[in-house]
Symmetry: C2
Subunit: 162 residues, 2 copies
């Protein structure tokens, strides 16, 4: 039953990526009914988190912060524009850029969204200390993944399986 007591590199229990994949799916499933009351999907909620912090953003700046590209963001932002949460306008100073601004409706959504974290917490059942550790460890992985996706070369000697 020990997860490490196994020498098959293709055993599901030895995979690092599968728990991350499963956790992401399960969390999305948990968020869905909560966010649907606000008329948001999870990636749309992430865009709102960024915009509530600092406006305007461009498609590119959102993509850097959320690790998404225009192929994902452009249609997503169009749906949010249709929903009346944001505006998409070409930057007159640089016509290549598209500026994303919040509408009043988008700003007003922040207040009810403040209850989202606790609504989610009600559906979970984990020690808060462990969650903070988990967050910081996954964040380090994300940072590592982000840099390794840019530079193919590596300097470390210690490597790891996934």
């Amino acid at each position: 039953m020990d997860l490490t007591d196994n020498d098959d590199p293709l055993d599901l229990d030895r995979q690092v990526c599968f728990p991350l994949y499963a956790a992401s799916n399960l969390l999305n499933r948990l968020y869905r009914p909560i966010l649907s009351e606000l008329g948001l999907t999870y990636p749309q909620y992430l865009v709102m988190l960024v915009l509530w912090k600092h406006t305007p953003q461009t498609v590119g700046s959102l993509g850097e912060l959320l690790f998404l590209d225009s192929g994902t963001l452009t249609p997503l932002l169009k749906r949010m524009e249709t929903g009346g949460l944001i505006t998409r306008t070409r930057d007159t100073a640089d016509e290549r850029r598209v500026l994303i601004h919040l509408t009043q409706k988008g700003r007003d959504l922040r207040s009810p969204a403040l209850r989202v974290p606790e609504a989610l917490a009600e559906r979970l059942d984990i020690d808060i200390e462990e969650v903070v550790r988990l967050r910081d460890q996954v964040s380090r992985l994300v940072a590592s993944l982000h840099t390794s996706s840019q530079a193919t070369g590596s300097t470390s000697t210690e490597r790891k399986p996934c």
Copy 2:
């Protein structure tokens, strides 16, 4: 700069779910070119991991192991059948079930797939100890998410934000 030095519950850096979401996307992006050489996507690779371990499976048993439902698996398995990796046949003993068997081509794919973990490891740059800790912590989260998605009631007093 401290991630915890912040009292805004809607700050992106305080989210637990966002790093998991980002890590899942980034890992999938990393797997893609490696698995495409085998003609697999990441969820298809997970199905193969299960089938290489034990055959046959049903749509339901695969769904339980991978936390996916028939809406995702049915079209995915049809593509794998079209690709010649598996067969889908109704269970004669219980006509509701669909049995998933490996074809010879599917079995033969295991040998080249043995190199997938190391191919992925080459593109990462993390200490192996930390990865094992991460895997076990995320696995506990997945277990917790799995149970909390079934039973709405909870007994713990300590809750956590996300």
